[in-house]
């Protein structure tokens, strides 16, 4: 123990005395701060990306998990660091929910959204032997009598409930939402017959979807997903819902433009690499490409959409 303490203080000392260099970015290790726990989807994205980004940045890219406060802990940390691009932050479309709820003292505009590198759709799932075969069937059943239908998915006032809310709007029906602590728990509840339908990320039940035990009625991708080619999109069934739970990278606002260009270039090279593509494929991720401007605009417009949604389910005052 005493030896490791000694080592730690030695290391800390080394960092303190590192002279500030004037060379081009990056001048030191780059930290990629992830607001989800180690092992989560976002964390796996960060770690896979970091390995590839190191190759073009020529400095170590270290992933740090700073979990808590719906991302506020990580954001507060990044805001306290200089805007020089040495601290990158993971970001997801869940940021717009957190901001819309007013749960964090930050705005989307406090950051520059650099890239969304991957995303997953939502989908409506039922069991194999359910009489409901299409999204139209589902909407019809719900319109007729939703009082016996149990529908749920991951989280309250989150991405999947938002997609379900959009479906309710377009299909003109109402019904309660049963929120679960994890996507897997919702899938387990569906398999165990505790739910009649679940709104889930398809990858959280890939084994059951491939074996036919779970049937997806519709998926929220723009065109049919390569991973689930037999599943019709919601759009092609007449419900214009195209939504992704996207994941990407952002930095603190005020980061110099040339630094942003360097980081963007490193990300773009990283997502072209074989290892990134293979991992993304294994994890059934849709590849997304938004420019920095597009993504920032998207994030801002999402906040407005989420606010309307939260107001309509009564979680936000008008």
């Amino acid at each position: 123990m005493r030896f490791s303490t000694f080592l730690c203080s030695l290391l800390a000392g080394a960092f303190l005395f590192a002279a500030p260099a004037v060379a081009a970015y990056p001048t030191k290790d780059v930290r990629l701060v992830c607001w989800s726990a180690a092992g989560s989807s976002l964390d796996v994205m960060a770690r896979t990306l970091a390995v590839e980004m190191e190759k073009s940045l020529k400095k170590p890219v270290v992933v740090e998990n700073r979990v808590g406060g719906s991302g506020a802990v990580a954001m507060a940390y990044a805001m306290a660091q200089p805007a020089d691009g040495h601290v990158l932050l993971t970001t997801t479309s869940s940021l717009s929910f957190t901001v819309a709820k007013g749960n964090v003292p930050f705005k989307v505009e406090d950051f520059v959204m650099l890239r969304a590198v991957e995303g997953e759709p939502s989908s409506v799932a039922v069991l194999k032997d359910s009489p409901i075969k299409t999204l139209d069937d589902f909407v019809e059943v719900m319109r007729k009598d939703s009082s016996k239908m149990r529908v749920g998915g991951y989280a309250s006032a989150g991405f999947h409930q938002f997609v379900y809310y959009k479906l309710q709007q377009l299909g003109k029906f109402t019904g309660p939402w049963v929120p679960f602590d994890g996507g897997n728990q919702a899938v387990a509840a569906l398999l165990g017959g505790h739910l009649d339908a679940a709104v889930i990320t398809p990858s959280s039940a890939s084994a059951q979807i491939e074996s036919g035990e779970i049937r997806l009625l519709g998926i929220s991708t723009d065109t049919r997903s390569d991973y689930f080619p037999n599943v019709p999109t919601m759009k092609e069934q007449g419900y214009d819902i195209v939504e992704y739970l996207w994941r990407g990278i952002m930095v603190k606002k005020g980061t110099p433009a040339d630094v942003i260009d360097t980081i963007n270039a490193a990300i773009d090279t990283a997502v072209q690499s074989e290892s990134w593509k293979n991992t993304a494929k294994a994890r059934r991720q849709e590849s997304l490409s938004y420019s920095t401007e597009e993504l920032s605009a998207k994030a801002a417009s999402e906040v407005q959409e989420r606010k309307t949604f939260l107001q309509s389910i009564g979680l936000l005052k008008k």
Binding site: M1, A37, A38, G39, S40, S41, D43, V44, R47, T48, V51, E64, R66, V67, G68, G69, S70, A72, V73, A76, K101, N103, V104, P105, S147, K148, R150, G152, S156, A157, P176, W177, V178, P179, F180, D181, N184, Q185, V187, A188, A189, L191, G192, G193, H194, L195, S204, A205, S206, A207, Q208, E210, S211, N278, T279, A282, R283, L315
Partner: protein, 496 residues
């Protein structure tokens, strides 16, 4: 058959053996360090597996997971601080047994029970995965809520002599779980504007305070009052004692396997269920009563928490979904290797499955041997002068509290809980009911709300529609009534 032979070759290759040895050693370490746990340990080692074959990588991670569940008992016994959440019940009897001068007996009981639990969990995974997985699926929100209530009913039997104080401690625990974002409506409660409290009071941070920091305060007090003279014996178990804990370990293993297989339950609940079960079965003949260093009180939780490893792998292999936070990290690791956890693994990647089976069994053997070897070293910890030990534990606790979320806020939180724990100890409020309430509170609350949302117009009748729920609730009522009757009945003076 070819796949089995190929897997045997992998497990007993240089890489396979090295990863088991390293995994077990690392597991014992992260388990014993309060604040580091199996899920953190597995997550930290995942990048290391990138360069390995999937088989060897899986063996490494599973060995670590298994050994960490055992490692948690070492600190629970020696310094009265559970190294993992699943070792909280081990403190109740393990620590008193150690302070009574028998750290060797407590550690041997824990190691033996852990090994038995680990092997039985692994065998259940190999032999009975399908039926257990089907049973686990019958747990929905209604059944989880009822299981949680059954767990809370145990509080009455964990309260020791004073039922009222036990219920008081439990209420405090339940109140603390109200802090944070409401799981169903998403509204923040009692956070007082601290975003550090959005996810609730972090359980491990509270544990470190209640156990480790409070223990440091007690040590300081004792040191000031007296100083230390007790003699500590590193002697292990006699044959009779070993036979005494065997049935306990078997029962604990079964509880652990089943509870581990139910996603959302896990070791922190299994250890208390197993402990309570043994306490109820105990006759008065035992040389040490429960709560004062009963060997069976060590063996029950330790066998059950190691059995949850095999149990938690059951839904992973049969359904492709994790049965515990640690297996959730494992799912991520498998996916990085291009493997899709689930039944297809048995068809497409047989060697991975069989390597996991064989590796898990063999890791138990390695864990036992390493535990035997290490024990002589660990026993020395209790011989360290109290003053030095107290300072070391305090420093370690602060590091652990900080490292969980890298927040200074958590250091203050831990210290606060240390004060609460110390006050409770001084005024003879039992800690166990509070811990159990903190584990079960969120589970009962969120599933209760979920069940009512599902029931819609049916309301509370939904709890009586499921036979499993009725069974769990009935057992809960009986357990509570029985312990309350025993607890409130005027005590006949029983000679110690």
């Amino acid at each position: 058959m070819d796949a089995v032979l190929a897997s045997l070759q992998i497990v007993f290759s240089l890489g396979g053996l090295a990863s088991i040895l390293f995994g077990v050693a690392a597991g014992i370490f992260v388990g014993a360090m309060p604040g580091l746990g199996p899920s953190m340990g597995v997550a930290l080692l995942v990048p290391l597996t990138f360069s390995m074959t999937p088989e060897v990588g899986v063996i490494l991670l599973v060995s670590l997971y298994l050994a960490a569940e055992y490692g948690g008992s070492i600190s629970a016994i020696l310094i009265g601080t559970p190294g993992t959440a699943a070792a909280t019940a081990t403190v109740v009897d393990g620590y008193p047994l150690c302070r009574a001068g028998y750290p060797g007996k407590a550690l041997t009981a824990s190691l033996t029970a852990s090994t038995i639990g680990g092997i039985i969990g692994a065998l259940a995974l190999i032999i009975a995965a399908q039926p257990i997985a089907r049973f686990a699926l019958s747990f929905g929100p209604v059944e989880y809520c009822s299981l949680g209530i059954l767990g809370l009913a145990i509080i009455s039997s964990l309260s020791g002599d004073n039922l009222i104080k036990g219920l008081g401690a439990a209420s405090l625990g339940l109140v603390l779980t109200l802090v944070g974002v409401d799981p169903v409506t998403g509204v923040t409660r009692f956070t007082f504007g601290f975003y550090e409290l959005f996810e609730g009071i972090p359980f491990l941070t509270a544990l470190i305070g209640l156990f480790a920091v409070a223990e440091v305060f007690s040590m300081v007090e004792q040191e000031l009052l007296a100083g230390q003279k007790a003699h500590f014996s590193s002697e292990g178990l006699t044959r009779k004692e070993l036979l005494h804990i065997l049935p306990t370990s078997l029962r604990g293993s079964i509880i652990g396997t089943v509870v581990g297989a139910v996603p959302g339950a896990g070791g922190s609940i299994a250890c208390w269920l197993a402990y309570d079960q043994e306490k109820r079965l105990s006759s008065k003949k035992t040389e040490r009563p429960f709560g004062e260093g009963a060997l069976r009180g060590v063996a029950a939780p330790e066998s059950s928490n190691n059995a949850t490893v095999g149990g938690a792998l059951i839904p992973l292999l049969t359904l492709g979904m994790p049965g515990s936070p640690t297996t959730a990290v494992l799912v991520g690791a498998l996916m990085i290797h291009g493997l899709q956890p689930g039944p297809k693994l048995f068809v497409e990647n047989q060697t991975v499955v069989y390597s996991l089976f064989i590796g898990l069994i063999f890791a138990n053997v390695v864990m036992y041997l390493m535990g035997r070897l290490g024990m002589r070293l660990w026993v020395k910890i209790v011989a360290i002068p109290q003053a030095v030990l107290a300072a070391t534990i305090l420093a370690l606790s602060m590091i652990a509290a900080y490292s969980l979320r890298t927040l200074t806020f958590d250091i203050w939180l831990t210290l606060g809980f240390g004060v609460i724990g110390f006050i409770m100890k001084k005024s003879h409020f039992p800690l166990a009911p509070m811990i159990l309430a903190m584990i079960l509170g969120p589970m009962v609350e969120s599933n209760y709300n979920r069940a009512l949302l599902m029931a819609q117009a049916d309301g509370h009748l939904i709890f009586l529609e499921s036979p499993l729920s009725v069974l769990l609730l009935s057992v809960a009522v009986l357990a509570f009534a029985y312990s309350t009757y025993k607890g409130l009945r005027p005590k006949k003076s029983v000679g110690q």
